[in-house]
């Protein structure tokens, strides 16, 4: 899957919702925690080597699950494979809490931006607003077999 990497790199330089140096450990077994500058911009989480201008990588946060791990630590995983976790170590539980809340808000849905749904007050349901068809929203995991064509 191609993507516009230059624009994404430019996005990583935009003002961030949250930015901090955290310990970060990838989902692969045996990976070691490293210090990373972690930056939340819109619905992407960028991570940099400290003092480097270009990001090492980005995580799109749609359909992610944010969970408390050990005290002061949280993880991000994705619906299609919840066992693959990106681990983050914070300096305090307060910081950890702040990050978890910010990450949960970092979605495309308006509700997440304001903390409340501005249109629900007028009786406009989410279904009427955004869906082009009447398919129900499916929170179930997608099976791994469909992803065989990737990578």
């Amino acid at each position: 899957m191609r993507y516009n990497e230059k624009e994404l790199q430019a996005l990583s330089r935009q003002p961030a919702e949250m930015a901090a140096e955290l310990g970060m450990r990838g989902p692969k077994k045996g990976s070691v925690a490293k210090r990373r500058l972690v930056k939340l911009v819109v619905n992407f989480l960028f991570y940099f080597r400290p003092d480097e201008a270009e990001p090492l990588g980005a995580l799109l946060l749609e359909r992610c699950r944010v969970a408390q791990e050990e005290p002061g630590g949280f993880s991000i995983s994705f619906v299609e494979d919840l066992s693959r976790k990106y681990h983050f170590e914070c300096c305090s539980q307060e910081q950890c809490q702040e990050w978890m809340e910010a990450l949960r808000r970092a979605r495309n849905e308006i509700r997440k931006m304001t903390g409340k749904d501005p249109l629900e007050q007028f009786g406009i349901s989410e279904e009427a607003r955004f869906q082009l068809n009447s398919l129900p929203r499916d929170e179930q995991t997608c099976t791994g077999s469909q992803l065989g064509v990737l990578d």
Binding site: M1, K6, L11, L56, R63, F130, Q131, V149
Partner: protein, 259 residues
């Protein structure tokens, strides 16, 4: 740069609601060789929030490409082949070529330009903040005055005080226009409503809408489709202007062909 492509593709394929879908022709996306006729390759496009995915076909099980729609503007464009309903996504980032796309017809073209213009997270955040602040102003006004649409409330002290633009004639708003100017937005060039809007470097449709001093929301607004129609006004005008320019160029070519 790494990206969690597997998760991204999963999200693209999931039945999370799409903001817009349809067939579009595309030229020169990275790695896209041009067709012999120059007509552009036709792919199935899905817009979800600030993410534009393309697929070989509707039934594809993996996206071909992703365009992240932040820091960009969308405008009507000339296509390499005449009579295409083309538009371009232009990025602020230096050295990035615009993405050229074309729809199958005028209606589709306008719908796509509208959808893509509003796709960025920054734009949505701006709209939400603007709507919220106007809701708040309107509620305060209602509380203070019975006839809110007759009086102009000057009690709200905003740190920046630019000239207030008079409501423009293009307003397609269905609700009373002489709503108090308290909630109207400042001109482009001065500090916009909300201290961190400047951080987003808003350009294109967002700043245009803001700079008109028009208020899309009044206390009586209860219909989101009205808001959609209101924002659609700009696209209709853009198209009208484009068509006029296209017509205006024809007499010149006739003159040139005279001996």
């Amino acid at each position: 740069m790494k990206l969690n492509k597997r998760s991204v593709a999963h999200y693209a394929l999931s039945d999370s609601p799409a903001d817009h879908t349809g067939f579009l022709r595309t030229w020169g996306g990275p790695g896209t060789p041009p067709t012999p006729s120059g007509a552009g390759r036709r792919y199935w496009f899905v817009l979800k929030g600030n993410l534009l995915f393309s697929f070989e076909s509707k039934e594809s099980r993996a996206p071909l490409s992703l365009v992240v729609l932040e820091g960009c503007t969308v405008e009507l464009a000339e296509a390499p082949v005449p009579e295409e309903f083309a538009f371009a996504i232009r990025f602020d980032a230096p050295g990035v070529r615009p993405h050229l796309l074309a729809a199958d017809g005028q209606v589709a073209q306008e719908a796509w330009v509208k959808a893509l213009s509003r796709a960025s997270f920054g734009y949505m955040r701006l709209v939400v903040r603007e709507l919220e602040s106007q809701l708040q102003d309107a509620r305060q006004s209602l509380a203070l005055h019975r006839c809110v649409f007759q009086k102009s409330v000057t009690g709200c002290n905003k740190p920046q005080a630019p000239d207030r633009r008079a409501p423009g004639p293009e307003n397609g708003h269905l609700f009373p226009r002489d709503r108090n100017s308290n909630g109207s937005v400042e001109e482009r060039g001065s500090r916009p409503v909300g201290r961190d809007l400047t951080e987003w470097g808003l350009q294109g449709p967002a700043s245009l809408l803001l700079s008109r001093g028009q208020s899309p929301v009044s206390p009586e607004t209860s219909c989101f489709s009205t808001l959609h129609d209101w924002y659609g006004k700009e696209i209709t005008e853009l198209r009208r202007g484009w068509q006029q320019r296209a017509k205006g160029s024809q007499p010149e070519s006739k003159q040139q062909s005279r001996p």
